[in-house]
């Protein structure tokens, strides 16, 4: 009898743990999706019916073993790229993702050039 209880408690704890991880995964994914019927809110933050439905859809999908990427791609197919708050990397977003790198490189160049000019003047 005690073993049975222990097993049940253990199973409950494991499923509770798994459920909590699912919560975090849903939250994280929902934070990166835009609520397309709101002014500018993420799906996670929004109470709009569409956002609630989307969160449910994400939860069911993740629980069924689908990957985050798969769910994201599916939503992009239905709502367009604007549903992603973190734009996917492709030809159209290369300047966006590599722009900061380029800026840092330019800054570094400027800094290096200034450093090269040793003080020599009066």
């Amino acid at each position: 009898m005690r073993k049975f209880i222990a097993l049940t408690v253990f199973a409950a704890a494991v499923t509770a743990q798994a459920a909590e991880d699912l919560d975090t995964r849903v939250e994280r994914l929902a934070q990166e999706l835009r609520c397309v019927v709101c002014q500018s809110q993420s799906v996670a933050d929004s109470n709009a019916p569409l956002a609630v439905d989307m969160k449910r859809h994400l939860r069911e999908g993740l629980a069924a073993g689908r990957s985050e990427q798969e769910l994201r791609d599916e939503l992009v197919q239905r709502y367009g790229e604007q549903v992603l708050y973190r734009p996917a990397l492709h030809a159209g977003t290369v300047p966006l993702w590599f722009g900061p790198v380029a800026l840092v490189a330019i800054g570094g160049l400027v800094y290096w050039r200034h450093g090269r000019r040793r003080e020599g003047g009066p």
Partner: protein, 174 residues
């Protein structure tokens, strides 16, 4: 010389920026958002039936209309949808968004039913498959099952005559 170039850079950047912003002002901010489904196969849904029993036949042009009992404009467009069905012979499939069985049936009973078939979508799954962002929305699907048009908002008589009927006639002729 190099100094002048470096000094001109902010100015050039500003000119580009102003040009960009001017162009973005010109585009119509109220333009209907283009559905990503256009040109793609219509999503296949597996939903409970609310009313009607004739699904669209393969190889036939059909129309999907998303509505809800709590949506005022949906009520006003019902007669226009009825005209659409009559004048073009298309089957209109209704998708009842976030309604209970009773409310959906009552809506159709009270205001008329232009739909050959109506599906229930209490949890929004069907609408999400179609990328629906509000009610009402209307989709036109061609003979090959490809989505050709999305119309957001109620279908008025003008929309019927200027947008929907010409397109449907053309797709039916093809």
């Amino acid at each position: 010389m190099k100094l002048l170039l470096a000094a001109l850079l902010p100015l050039l950047a500003t000119a580009t920026l102003v040009a960009l912003l001017a162009r973005s002002l010109q585009r119509d901010a109220q333009a209907e958002p283009v559905s990503p489904l256009i040109g793609k196969p219509a999503p296949v849904l597996d939903l409970e039936r609310l009313a009607g029993d004739t699904p669209p036949r393969p190889g036939e042009v059909w129309v999907l209309n998303v509505f809800a009992s709590w949506c005022g404009p949906c009520r006003t467009e019902l007669p226009v949808l009825g005209q659409l069905a009559e004048q073009s012979g298309v089957r209109i499939v209704g998708l009842d968004y976030r309604d209970t069985l009773e409310l959906g049936l009552a809506f159709l009973k009270r205001h008329g039913n232009p739909y050959a078939l109506t599906w229930r979508d209490p949890e929004g799954k069907g609408s999400m498959a179609w990328g629906v962002t509000g009610v009402p929305e209307t989709f036109v699907i061609d003979r090959k099952g490809v989505v050709r048009l999305r119309h957001t908002g109620p279908v008025t008589a003008e929309d019927l005559n200027k947008r929907l009927l010409p397109l449907i006639k053309r797709l039916q002729g093809a």
